[in-house]
């Protein structure tokens, strides 16, 4: 985003550089400047492709095979077999579907809700007072505990997991958006818009919203990483995704009893989980540097 639009923003400035370079050249230049975006994004794309292609690249994750129970990793079972003889490789690959779905859904929903509350709170004083007190209170409740409590009451299902993880994430988005709005609303162009009688919704959507997008995209990646971890934690603790669905947390929870002599049930999903979260985090760091060099210098 930082490189390409410049040419359009200042027509004539880059004239003597000849025609606009091709997409591949621009991609290479961008990846030289922000390698973490490309590396993090690349790993995530690989993970997503593997998760989506699971039915074609992995055997049935639910097939019981008691003769092979707790078989160590080898030719037949790349990641070993679990206590029921199920293929840990297949279960891990399918588990990626759950993690990525929960991560993306939580990031998207909490961003949209947080953005709407943050925009209004940052601009309208009396809403601010109420919304921010509620957000302060929500922030004081440890997110994992709140999610555990919500799921224990609402019942274990993927939709409930997504809702329970989203609620504690919303205040962080609201705070961020509100902070940006508070600085932007003092800008002369907003004052100008007010003075010519622009209505409030239009000011918020056309003049203020675009300024929040860059930090919001960065924040969304961190929310996504956090959601993937919390989903795994909830499943691991037995208060998350229903146990019959192979999610990384569930596979690890089942491996706890057998850890001393069959650690592969915990290590392989654990490695996939760690690599995914790492990829999302370095993608977020890279996007932050790439979208807003001012924040980059401060961090």
């Amino acid at each position: 985003m930082a490189d390409a639009p410049q040419a359009a923003a200042f027509p004539g400035e880059f004239e003597d550089e000849g025609p606009r370079p091709g997409a591949w050249t621009r991609f290479r230049a961008y990846s030289r400047r922000h390698p973490t975006v490309v590396v993090g994004g690349g790993i995530l794309v690989l993970m997503a492709v593997a998760a989506l292609a699971a039915p074609w690249i992995a055997p049935d994750p639910l097939r019981l095979n008691p003769i092979n129970r707790l078989k160590p990793p080898g030719e037949a079972f790349w990641f070993g077999a679990d206590f029921l003889g199920r293929d840990v490789y297949a279960r891990t690959v399918y588990g990626g579907q759950i993690s990525l779905m929960v991560g993306l859904a939580v990031a998207a929903i909490s961003t949209v809700i947080g953005l709407s509350f943050g925009l209004v709170a940052g601009y309208v004083r009396w809403v601010d007072a109420i919304v921010m007190r509620i957000m302060d209170g929500l922030m004081a409740i440890p997110g994992v505990l709140l999610a555990i409590a919500l799921i224990s009451l609402a019942g274990a299902s993927i939709v409930n997991v997504i809702i329970a993880i989203t609620i504690p994430e919303i205040p962080r988005v609201v705070r961020l958006v509100r902070a940006v709005v508070l600085t932007v609303r003092e800008q002369p162009y907003v004052e100008a818009a007010v003075s010519v009688g622009t209505r409030l919704p239009k000011i918020l959507l056309k003049h203020i919203l675009p300024n929040t997008l860059a930090p919001l995209i960065v924040q969304a990646t961190y929310v996504c990483a956090s959601a993937v971890v919390i989903e795994a934690i909830l499943s691991f603790l037995g208060a998350g995704t229903p146990p019959e669905i192979p999610s990384w947390g569930n596979i690890m929870a089942e491996g706890r009893t057998y850890f001393q002599f069959a650690p592969w049930m915990i290590f392989f999903p654990g490695i996939f989980l760690a690599v995914t979260v790492l990829a999302v985090n370095i993608l977020g760091d890279g996007l932050r540097d790439s979208l807003d060099p001012r924040i980059a210098r401060r961090m």
């Binding site: 004081a140 409590a149 799921i151 009451l153 609402a154 795994a232 603790l237 850890f259 001393q260 370095i282």
Partner: protein, 313 residues
């Protein structure tokens, strides 16, 4: 300054009020009858009535809320549905391991993270800085239970240096206590170390460019005095702030760490309560943890006036 302290104290009231309402409403916001949810799948109608009676669910909502608040303020967190014991007593029994783990982790994290961040800032741009920052990103990404199991496998099962699981109270002797708490502390502390080291480096980098740093160096101060007395002192406010905010991360991590290492603390109490739908315990634990978070952050806000005398509100 007293006005600031008074204002800051007052500001915790709405926060705790929101926490209280949220914890209370948890039970009522869920779809269906809370008594049915708590009673579980195999409950008879008279069991459900008994639970409804015990929790006062027949009263109007605002009456329930205020009688609940009144009880909480007088130290009564309700009665466990499963064991019939007071929740406050159950929490009291499980407090020690959790508190020990949390305090050990905070001490460990500060002792490791602050020097790491200072060195990274001092050597900014060098290999040392890169290595520390890569560690910070890694430490922030690898979930606590993955680190926990990896360390347990290496240090307990393979090398036999530490007990595999379990907890020895400090009353059983300091050495067994230390052995049982070391791995959980490091596993839980790594994410916290990563967080604090990152902020320490950023905060130090900003301070190191200040004019008074150049003046101090021109005066001929040696590196240690320069870094610690001049730079770290001035960089301390963001560092202390992140330590407070990180308490939330720590609390979530405690629950998981206790499960991994089989430590009989508040986290295990919560998980057992969740599996038994023992709702008063869950409410009580959330309330205690949230209260701890608010109090720690209040103390940190107040410490600003000591750390940085320029802050006068």
């Amino acid at each position: 300054m007293y006005a600031y302290i008074a204002r800051r104290l007052l500001a915790t009231l709405p926060v705790m009020a929101v926490v209280g309402i949220a914890v209370f409403m948890l039970l009522h916001l869920t779809p269906g009858d809370p008594a049915v949810v708590i009673a579980g799948d195999y409950a008879r109608p008279e069991d459900i009535d008994k639970i409804r009676e015990r929790l006062g669910l027949n009263e109007p909502l605002h009456v329930q809320f205020f009688s609940w608040v009144g009880a909480v303020l007088s130290g009564d967190l309700g009665t466990s549905i499963f064991s019939n014991l007071p929740v406050a007593k159950l929490i009291g029994q499980r407090l020690e391991p959790t508190l020990a783990l949390a305090i050990a982790t905070i001490i460990f994290a500060i002792l490791v993270a602050v020097p790491m961040g200072v060195i990274a800032a001092w050597k900014a741009g060098t290999l040392t800085d890169r290595v520390i920052m890569v560690f910070a990103v890694l430490g922030f990404s690898v979930p606590v239970f993955v680190i926990g199991y990896a360390m347990m496998w290496l240090f307990s099962i393979t090398l036999g240096w530490f007990p595999v699981q379990g907890y020895k109270p400090i009353g059983d002797g300091f050495w067994p206590f230390l052995r049982s708490i070391t791995l959980p502390t490091v596993a839980l502390g790594i994410i916290y170390v990563a967080l604090i080291a990152r902020i320490t480096r950023a905060s130090m980098l900003e301070v190191l460019t200040e004019d008074y740093m150049r003046t101090a160096r021109a005066k001929g101060l040696d590196n240690n005095a320069l870094l610690i007395r001049h730079a770290l002192r001035n960089a301390s406010v963001p560092i202390v702030t992140i330590i407070g905010i990180g308490i939330a991360l720590l609390i979530g991590g405690v629950v998981v760490t206790e499960s991994v290492f089989n430590i009989p603390g508040l986290g295990r109490l919560t998980i057992d309560a969740v599996l038994r739908r023992d709702y008063p315990i869950i409410q009580g634990v959330i309330l205690i943890f949230s209260g701890a978070y608010v109090i720690v952050n209040l103390a940190i806000d107040l410490s600003y006036t000591v750390l940085d005398p320029r802050i006068r509100y």
